[in-house]
Symmetry: C2
Subunit: 163 residues, 2 copies
């Protein structure tokens, strides 16, 4: 099973491709960020994001796209910006015929660290224990995309009644 994890954003959107084979065998196939041009109109930036997403969906042919739900923080403006990009991610995934799994941020943290309120550092530490990463420095958005893809890799087979 191949999972495309996405951390949505219209300025920078993180992505990660994780492949799961036998139980416990999870491998990072690729990851990175999609960046759009600062100062350009939002509609054009979302359009650029859509084009790059289509390329990723085609290149990696994932079985599933995993995306975090939006945690509603104090910064409403940021949340609305992220939500607009998230809409494009969900829509392009569905239009490509790929199922979408949505996880609350607390679920991702709990699944990876055992603590729903884990810090970014705790999540990053556990990501590095659960999956082999090279020494490349990674941006937060990329790490977040790896985290949500890993979370899905671990939970995808869980029957609904056990969740």
């Amino acid at each position: 099973m191949r999972i495309l994890g996405i951390d949505p954003g219209y300025h920078r959107c993180g992505f990660a491709v994780v492949a799961r084979g036998a139980p416990g065998a999870v491998e990072l196939k690729g990851s990175g960020t999609i960046e759009t041009r600062r100062g350009e109109d939002l509609a054009l930036r979302l359009c650029a994001l859509g084009l790059e997403l289509d390329r990723l969906l085609q290149a990696w042919a994932p079985d599933c796209v995993a995306v975090e739900e939006i945690y509603f923080t104090k910064n409403a403006k940021t949340a609305i910006g992220v939500a607009q990009a998230r809409g494009v991610v969900l829509e392009h995934s569905a239009a490509a015929g790929i199922s979408v799994a949505e996880y609350a941020p607390t679920t991702v943290k709990s699944q990876l660290t055992g603590n729903g309120r884990a810090t970014k550092q705790q999540v990053a530490f556990m990501v590095a224990r659960l999956i082999k990463l090279d020494d490349t420095a990674r941006l937060d958005d990329e790490l977040d995309a790896i985290a949500v893809a890993l979370c899905h890799a671990m939970r995808a087979d869980m029957p609904a009644e056990l969740r």
Copy 2:
């Protein structure tokens, strides 16, 4: 000039096509709502919305799409839902090569009624004075789409330095 006004939503999305000829000559060419299936996954609903938007953009070939900015209300969940649909609207418009005009809700109200805090009733009254409407009952989302299209019809030519 033909303007497609959109009031974004993932459950129900209002649209209106307004044509502007000579100064003051504004005509409603068509309006309605796009509805998606309650209970279906958000990604599929956004996908259905995207398909209908593409049909509208193709059928009406507007010169511009006019959309309200998101007014941040107390209901964060609603705002995030609307923002996800709004992202799809902006992205599909830009992908079709059509420019997008964004207006703050207070600008739309001011432009149509002279009062940035006008009620829905005041806006509806002024819409009916500014454009010929038949007696069809219209949903709020449809009226909001007519309002933002009308706002753009009235303001599109205004030089940036006079705004």
